[in-house]
Symmetry: C2
Subunit: 160 residues, 2 copies
């Protein structure tokens, strides 16, 4: 792919739920997300990283309107799955670079992270696909992050 | 978007590096990935979840050919960034569902995780975008995972 970043997307309608200390064995992710599917809750970003001593955390985002309902469902599921805690955050925003060839071009991720590092914006979480790198940042940093990314990728108008 | 899963992608040329116990403050992700960009290393999946007591882990994948070179660069960067450890895994595979409307349709993620749970395939990590959900699984599970996902999403031919 020719590498081209088409735009920067910012979404502040983000509520993050982190289910902590969940056992890392088959069926656990399904047990957590099936009750949300049964209740027609739209899940946006999902992040799970490496486990330690057989337990890991799963974080995911929903729209802020869905936070209360989602927490009720997750509290129940988390207990039966043996999670140690459930945290939620309604002060985050999603900033993404969107384009082609992101994964096949060295330096794209570093350029994004560098653009956020320069104005001291902290990256709360990272997920990627071949067309998109998404970071969660504090909502107060969202606009500064968007400006920094527009500059770093030499884009004109803010996309959203 | 109308929700339609177009295909299942499987990639076994995956080496995962996990940098553990890295400080959660601005500039750290940049410090980790810039040396890799300077050496033209292609980064595929990047995952960072919530931090605990100010530290978190960052995992990412490269092609297996790049593992040795990447580890040399990461070891140096990790020490100067204050990470506690660097682990690597060359026995994983990436399985993804690819389509449209993934984030706007409840139940897609749960269906994927359910398809992997049924044959007891463990999910090592999860990242998402609006067109793709990617899980890392043990490479020995890759084909079974692909078959289970084709069935769960009623797709005919394996895509890759
Ligand atoms: C933690 C969770 O992802 C678990 N490994 C599973 O397969 O469901
Ligand atoms: C951990 C790392 O992502 C850090 N929060 C940063 O902003 O660089």
């Amino acid at each position: 792919d020719a590498q081209r970043i088409r735009g920067i997307a910012v979404d502040t309608d983000v509520a993050k739920i982190s289910v902590l200390g969940i056992p890392d064995r088959p069926g656990i992710a399904h047990g957590l997300f099936q009750p949300l599917a049964d209740d027609s809750i739209n899940i946006d970003v999902i992040v799970q990283n490496i486990s330690h001593d057989g337990i890991t955390d799963i974080s995911f985002t929903v729209s802020r309107d869905d936070l209360t309902k989602t927490l009720e469902l997750v509290e129940g599921a988390s207990q039966s799955l043996g999670a140690s805690d459930v945290l939620h955050f309604a002060n985050l925003a999603k900033v993404s670079i969107v384009g082609t060839g992101i994964q096949s071009t060295p330096g794209v991720a570093a350029r994004m992270f560098g653009a956020l590092a320069e104005p001291s914006i902290n990256i709360e979480s990272i997920t990627t696909s071949e067309i998109r790198i998404t970071c969660l940042v504090h909502e107060d940093d969202a606009q500064r992050a968007a400006q920094a990314l527009h500059q770093a990728f030499e884009l004109d108008q803010p996309e959203e």
